[in-house]
């Protein structure tokens, strides 16, 4: 860390981890309601728990992307952040708004919340991931504008590296792609078509650019590989993302009322969407081979190398499984989708967030790297979370298979609720894997409470002795 103002990233990262914790608690409750439908009902109906889970996910990812931007942009631009004070105020606004929104979900019935927040004047509520009441949506825009102003001014006065250009450019894209959240056509087919501008536009477009920029930054810092090589790779990767992903959005238009030509367009282009993830793997391992230094932060290196692999599994492989129109005909809107959603969101965006947090937090706490003991806790947490998430995805895939066989492709299809009963064992497995994930998260969080810097001398001695 070279610039004092990078320190504003710290509350963002801590806030993100707090919300991550909340996300997982709601995930466990929602998962348990699959097994015992009366659990916490009617106080907390499933939809309230679910939207708390998914909205906390989105917010903590946004928060860590923002922290990453405040950390990376000054360092790349080789200048102090334009206004650290604005960044700090923005953090508290964002965090408070997020907390208030979740409290409103929990304590105010949704229709009542809609009534008191002016939803009738400009309807925006009642769509997946975009359930927030109008004031929260406006707040998100203001927070984004503050971020964009701050990082763009910093970029303008400093060095313009490709990593910074891609990062700041994709933050602009992120904000622009949120605007369709205010556009809710009365025609449900059009509404669904436009909803994907936000959802697909983010996760299979813009956010992949953010992912690439963060990973590129971490790898340059940790391996010491020449910037020119890294940045050339990055451009090729993000080019493949947009070439495949823009028309690839058609994989959401097969069976939702849009014209049939999307069946062809969506299938052909989205089949290419795993390519950027394959390239990300090739890129990061190439950088690892060519590294010019051994960075003491082993945990961060592990996160950074595992991210493209897990992203490939979740987005590339599980995405591919459901993306061709004939397969999706049977799998659309089953737990196959949930399996893919979990593994992809975790493998790509949760893990890149945890990677940059792992790299930056020790520096923000004036350490070269965490002590060997703290890193062992972090790495243990890493493995438990990664393996548990694979367990969750496999369990949900199992539930998806049951639905396809008994409900979708059966000669005598069973009803939805009967099929859910048959899939019960997989929901148990998901819940146990979820508990595993929670334990992994606790172990991971524990690592932050271990004091002390990385000690070269004692580690050297240990290495020689062992």
């Amino acid at each position: 860390m070279k610039y004092q103002s990078q320190k504003v990233a710290k509350p963002y990262f801590i806030g993100a981890l707090v919300l991550f914790f909340g996300q997982i608690v709601f995930g466990l409750i929602a998962g348990f309601q699959y097994l015992d439908g009366s659990f916490l009902f009617p106080g907390l109906p499933f939809d309230v728990v679910r939207m708390s889970h998914t909205n906390l996910l989105i917010v903590w990812l946004l928060m860590s992307f923002m922290g990453a931007a405040y950390f990376i942009v000054p360092e790349e631009a080789q200048t102090e952040l334009y206004s650290p004070k604005l960044a700090l105020v923005t953090f508290w606004v964002f965090f408070t708004a997020a907390a208030l929104t979740i409290l409103a979900y929990l304590f105010v019935p949704y229709a009542h919340l809609a009534a008191i927040t002016g939803n009738a004047a400009l309807p925006t509520m009642g769509r997946g991931y975009l359930e927030q009441p109008l004031p929260t949506k406006i707040g998100i825009v203001l927070v984004a504008l503050s971020l964009l102003f701050n990082v763009t001014m910093t970029l303008i006065k400093g060095r313009k590296t490709s990593i910074n250009l891609i990062l700041v450019g994709s933050l602009w894209g992120l904000a622009l792609l949120f605007l369709p959240a205010f556009y809710f056509p009365e025609d449900t087919v059009k509404a669904s078509f436009a909803w994907w501008w936000v959802v697909h536009g983010w996760v299979e477009g813009d956010w992949e650019l953010i992912l690439g920029a963060l990973l590129g930054f971490i790898l340059i810092k940790m391996t010491g590989v020449d910037r020119e090589i890294v940045e050339k790779w990055l451009y090729i990767i993000v080019a493949m993302t947009l070439v495949s992903g823009i028309i690839g959005i058609g994989h959401h238009y097969y069976y939702t009322g849009s014209p049939s030509y999307w069946i062809w367009l969506g299938s052909i282009f989205s089949i290419l969407e795993p390519v950027p993830f394959v390239l990300l793997i090739a890129f990061s391992f190439k950088m690892l081979m060519q590294r010019r230094r051994e960075h003491p932060n082993k945990a961060a290196m592990l996160w950074a190398l595992a991210t493209p692999i897990m992203a490939f599994l979740g987005a590339g492989l599980w995405g591919l499984m459901i993306t061709l129109a004939p397969a999706q005909y049977y799998m659309h809107g089953t737990n196959f989708t949930a399996a893919h959603g979990h593994l992809a969101f975790f493998g790509a965006y949760a893990m890149i967030s945890l990677s940059i947090i792992s790299y930056a937090m020790p520096l923000l706490r004036d350490r070269t790297a965490n002590s060997a003991i703290a890193q062992r806790w972090e790495i243990t947490g890493f493995w438990i979370m990664v393996l548990s998430m694979l367990g969750i995805a496999l369990a949900l895939t199992g539930a998806g298979i049951v639905t396809v066989i008994l409900q979708r492709a059966a000669d005598h299809p069973m009803s939805f609720m009967q099929v859910q009963d048959k899939a019960r064992v997989f929901f148990w497995v998901r819940e146990f894997a979820g508990l595993g994930f929670f334990i992994g998260l606790l172990i991971y969080l524990r690592s932050f409470f271990i004091a002390g810097d990385y000690e070269y001398a004692s580690e050297m001695k240990r290495a020689l002795a062992g």
């Binding site: 009366s38 009738a120 009365e186 449900t188 451009y235 014209p259 659309h332 809107g333 979708r408 939805f416």
Partner: protein, 141 residues
């Protein structure tokens, strides 16, 4: 290799590719916009249907259910529920929630007025007539 394929070339592929495919996407979307109203019978979106849609959204139905496969996976598909169950059943169902059967997944009671219920059912009927390329594969959704 290093000299043949430069960073500037990679960047141009990125920018060019993005602009090119975005332009195609915009053109296709415009075309789609003109075709959707035929496929979903937009002319039948009466004020009552739209009221019903508002009731649907403000009660977050997709927080548990799917509509044409989009939403949550906790409860049955609603895009074709009108054809599966018919209006009388749906109305009675919504009014009698929650079932209170221990352990069974519970749907809240939204305390809808008769008018809201009728509008909601008209909206579900409208949904059931969208041309979704023959999805879902069967009536169970």
């Amino acid at each position: 290799m290093q000299q043949v394929f430069t960073k500037a070339m990679a960047r141009n592929i990125f920018l060019g590719g993005a602009v090119f495919f975005l332009a195609i996407y915009v053109a296709l979307s415009v075309d789609t916009w003109y075709r959707i109203p035929e496929r979903d019978h937009a002319d039948k979106l009466s004020p009552a249907v739209l009221q019903g849609k508002y009731v649907f959204d403000e009660n977050n139905c997709i927080g548990c259910h799917t509509v044409n496969g989009e939403g949550a996976y906790f409860a049955p598909e609603l895009g074709n529920v009108y054809k599966r169950r018919g209006s009388a059943f749906i109305k009675a169902w919504i009014e009698s929630q929650p079932t209170g059967v221990p352990g069974r997944r519970q749907m809240p009671n939204f305390h809808l007025s008769q008018k809201q219920l009728d509008d909601l059912i008209l909206y579900l009927q409208w949904l059931s007539n969208i041309d979704t390329n023959n999805w879902p594969p069967n009536i169970q959704g």
